[in-house]
């Protein structure tokens, strides 16, 4: 039994940082759900605390606890326990298997993209417990798993694996390919190997077995490359959290430690390359006022805000960092009807903070944050790598030697 909860002195700083308990009175807050309730779980023969599923695992409580009690982890363990003992609703099952859902949707992408906005489809989805306030992201046939795996010169001194995650794979493969090509243009040998979902959607929906299956497969593949001298790069901050925290942690995956210690956020890696003088970049000006919404999971990664460090080097770019709000979508959390009210309230508040600074555009590392905030603020949202690629190289060569640039 993990005994960190002993250290809790009920200071309520975690409660002050919890976005869900602020807008949903049914969730008693991280202190009550975590260290307080843990004292009553010692004889936990049945898990009947259904409200435990209301926690969106944003990890803000964990980052803010002055003493390292980690309520989010305590709650996650109970969510897993509850999920194992009770029937999981259809929506939860669907999102736990996001990977397969995406695979199917991408094959019939034109049909899905056509049907998704239709009212009667939305009504059916609502009946099954899926919320539809947010327009579904577009799916594409030409996924990353169907794109060229290798990029960059074979003799490159540095080799990297790109762990792209389900969102880039199915919904933004164009950006994924741009990132691949961009890394290659920095003088790296890049591979996008066979990979599956990081497992976080399954874990977040109380299905630890499915999460472990995905995680074990990924860890085996990634560890193989790490042993051959590759570094692992992730772009999605939630995938990053899974790889660095949950693989060696609650998922107890073989090679988990190895994967955790050799996985880098894209921008963190670019900064590292600069520090080691592997690249001597020239940043072209990019004159915009940009609101940088920090995803909750980026804060939880504890790597700081490396993209902000890169943005600081771009002439003409004015960045305002917004780290006080959770966007509310929280991965698949907001896509479930039972959480719709919470997600909408939080989305509106977070979007207002963005609108208040009147930016030209909105940037965020997390695909969910981008969808949510773009919808509620009306301001277009991009990934930090899109700005980076634009500025760091005004054009870069693709596999056929053509110079590509992307207008933002």
């Amino acid at each position: 039994m993990n005994l960190d909860f002993q250290h809790c002195i009920r200071c309520t700083i975690c409660v002050a940082n919890c976005p869900v308990s602020r807008v949903n009175p049914d969730f008693p807050g991280p202190k009550q759900a975590g260290p307080d309730a843990e004292r009553f779980r010692s004889d936990n023969k049945t898990s009947i605390d259904k409200w435990i599923r209301l926690c969106n695992q944003c990890k803000r409580c964990e980052v803010s606890c002055p003493y390292g009690v980690n309520p989010a982890q305590i709650i996650l363990r109970e969510q897993v326990q509850y999920g194992g003992k009770h029937f999981r609703p259809l929506a939860s099952r669907v999102f736990a298997n996001n990977y397969w859902l995406g695979a199917v949707n991408s094959v019939i992408a034109p049909i899905v993209n056509r049907l998704a906005p239709m009212k009667f489809i939305k009504r059916i989805l609502n009946i099954f417990g899926i919320s539809t306030y947010l327009p579904f992201p577009q799916f594409h046939i030409h996924t990353l798993s169907r794109s060229w795996r290798w990029k960059g010169r074979r003799e490159s001194r540095k080799k990297v694996v790109l762990f792209y995650g389900c969102f880039l794979n199915y919904n933004r493969p164009d950006l994924g390919r741009d990132v691949r090509d961009f890394l290659a243009s920095l003088g790296l040998r890049v591979i996008m190997p066979r990979q599956v979902c990081c497992g976080l959607p399954a874990l977040g929906n109380g299905d630890i077995e499915t999460a472990r299956k995905f995680a074990r497969k990924n860890a085996r593949i990634l560890a193989g490359y790490i042993d051959k001298g590759y570094d692992v790069i992730y772009t999605c901050t939630s995938c990053g959290l899974a790889l660095t925290q949950d693989y060696p942690g609650i998922l107890e995956v073989p090679h988990g430690r190895k994967v955790s210690e050799n996985s880098y956020n894209l921008h963190e890696y670019v900064l590292k390359l600069m520090e080691e003088h592997y690249i001597e970049p020239v940043f072209e000006p990019f004159r915009r006022k940009v609101a940088y919404h920090i995803p909750c999971h980026l804060r939880a990664l504890g790597i700081g805000y490396p993209a902000a460090g890169l943005f600081a080097k771009i002439p003409g770019l004015e960045i305002v960092i917004l780290e006080d709000n959770c966007c509310g979508l929280s991965g698949s959390y907001g896509f479930k009807r039972s959480n719709e009210d919470t997600a909408v309230r939080l989305g509106i508040t977070a979007a207002r903070a963005v609108k208040d600074i009147d930016p030209d555009m909105l940037v965020s590392d997390c695909g969910a944050c981008r969808m949510q905030l773009a919808h509620f603020s009306g301001i277009p949202a991009v990934d930090p790598s899109e700005i980076l690629i634009k500025s760091l190289t005004t054009g870069f060569e693709d596999s056929r030697g053509r110079v590509k640039g992307r207008k933002l």
């Binding site: 002993q6 009553f40 010692s42």
Partner: protein, 500 residues
């Protein structure tokens, strides 16, 4: 003036048990207690419903009483007895001879035992020391002494029993050499009243001799103080005993969401002794660590002490005194009962009630063993995790006490004592020890009109002092941090010591 048949002095487990017993026999009675229920040894015990194993070797009479009552109480008190089971753990170096004697004595006394291998024991209680040699399973249980008293009193109240808490007996009225009544003084108003009765039962526990002397009698007793420490959470879900001759610190009992570890045994003369020496805390912690290694890093949230009213001994170790009980007929209309244990309270009550009935010339028999305790339906039961089902309007977050519960208790008993609320709801018994929730509870009591604002400040102050006394001997590590936080809230935010 109140007129009744039987006057019961003392609201501990024995007194409450007698009230229930007499109520079920339709005998009018009046119970008087100087504090709240379980103010004496009952409220300061370790919450252990003995299987009797602990006394099997040296005190077989007490052991037999224990096992018989254990079986009865777990039947009649489902919501206040948690059937945890217990283990007697033998560590390297503990006498094998004693172990053999233990098994033999248990068998002779009728206490069921099961010898477990270390791996099996560790399966049941993973926090046990991995170096244990073996463990013997016995039918120990955990019991909530406050709840026990309340439930017994419920039977009395339902049948018109007079219950006077916070009333102190200041004199026993005698006429022609017979005890005919008592004079009692109410604690807050200092009002004095007379209560007249045919028989007086002195169930005042450690104060028994003080009470008896008011009637010119004596009750020879040895008073033995025992200290206990409370942990932040449950390290074990079963009672853990050390398999060796009784010594300090060799029992750990899971009780609600904490563990109670203890105890010590120090002869005293003052029944009000309740100070815990830091050295006692160190002794108990050291012994407990041997059984449960994680005790080293376990946070302790409180300490407390109570005085055992033991039968008179002629010097020697308190631990060797028999835990059996004795009834004295002072031949002046007063009976005293002393000795015994919480586990055997019902039997004690039965025996003395039988004597009372005999003195009254009546023949109704005792039914306390057959009928379940009344009033259990509303109580949250076991396992503990069931209490997490719905969390609404919680005032004490550590112990999951709701505002409704506090309000209900405040209205029902119209009290000005936070302790009374605590005993009935467990408010403030968790890790923060009431640091946050007392302000809330008092606020609610003011709103119900049962507490004036001036009184509430005084009560808050007294409560914080009393609480601090219990915490001080074990203040280090996380509890010291907790204390500094509570201090900064009381003084820094609430401004308790500041002027108006």
């Amino acid at each position: 003036m109140i007129k009744t048949d039987v006057i019961i002095i003392g609201g501990g487990s024995t007194g409450c048990g007698i009230a229930r017993d007499l109520a079920l026999r339709d005998i009018p009675h009046c119970l008087i207690e100087k504090g709240d229920f379980a103010a004496g040894a009952t409220g300061a015990c370790q919450g252990l419903l003995h299987s009797g194993g602990r006394y099997a070797v040296n005190d077989p009479e007490a052991a037999a009483e224990c096992i018989s009552e254990n079986m009865i109480l777990r039947k009649i008190g489902i919501k206040c007895v948690e059937q945890t089971g217990g283990l007697f753990v033998r560590l390297p170096g503990d006498s094998k001879r004693f172990r053999d004697m233990f098994l033999k004595s248990c068998e002779e006394t009728g206490i069921s035992t099961e010898v477990l291998s270390p791996s099996r024991a560790l399966e049941l209680v993973p926090s046990l020391s991995p170096s244990l040699e073996e463990a013997i399973k016995v039918p120990d249980c955990s019991i909530d002494p406050f709840r026990l008293c309340m439930l017994n009193i419920t039977s009395s109240q339902k049948r018109g029993g007079e219950i006077l808490t916070h009333n102190r007996v200041i004199d026993i009225i005698r006429e022609h050499g017979r005890c005919v009544g008592v004079k009692v003084q109410e604690e807050s108003t200092s009002e004095v009243r007379e209560i007249r009765g045919k028989i007086i039962v002195n169930a005042a526990g450690a104060w028994g001799d003080n009470i008896a002397s008011l009637a010119g009698s004596t009750v020879p007793m040895t008073l033995s103080k025992g200290s206990l420490i409370v942990t932040n959470h449950r390290l074990t879900n079963m009672v853990i005993n050390r398999l060796r001759p009784s010594s300090d610190g060799d029992i750990i009992v899971p009780n609600e969401a904490v563990c109670l570890a203890g105890t010590t045994s120090i002869t005293v003369t003052d029944p009000d002794s309740s100070d815990v020496d830091p050295a006692e805390v160190d002794i108990i912690a050291t012994q407990a660590q041997q059984l449960l290694p994680e005790f080293v890093t376990t946070r302790l949230i409180r300490t407390y002490a109570g005085v055992r009213p033991l039968l008179k001994a002629d010097g020697g170790d308190d631990r060797k005194i028999s835990r059996s009980f004795k009834i004295m007929d002072h031949k002046n209309g007063m009976f005293s009962i002393m000795g015994g244990k919480l586990t055997t309270y019902r039997l004690m009550a039965e025996k003395i009630s039988d004597r009372v009935m005999e003195a009254l010339g009546l023949k109704t028999r005792c039914r306390t063993a057959e009928l379940p305790l009344e009033g259990q339906e509303e109580l949250s039961g076991y396992p503990l995790c069931n209490r997490l089902k719905i969390l609404e309007n919680i005032v004490c977050e550590c112990e999951l006490v709701t505002a409704d519960e506090v309000e209900k208790v405040a209205r029902e008993i119209g009290t000005r004592h936070i302790g009374d609320i605590q005993h009935r709801t467990r408010l403030g018994m968790g890790p923060c020890q009431g640091g946050f929730c007392t302000y809330r509870a008092l606020g609610i009591m003011q709103e119900t009109g049962k507490m004036t604002p001036e009184a509430s400040m005084q009560v808050l102050r007294e409560f914080l002092q009393r609480r601090f006394k219990g915490i001080k001997p074990a203040l280090w590590g996380d509890q010291l941090r907790e204390e500094q936080l509570v201090e900064s809230i009381c003084l820094g935010i609430l401004g308790m010591e500041q002027g108006q």
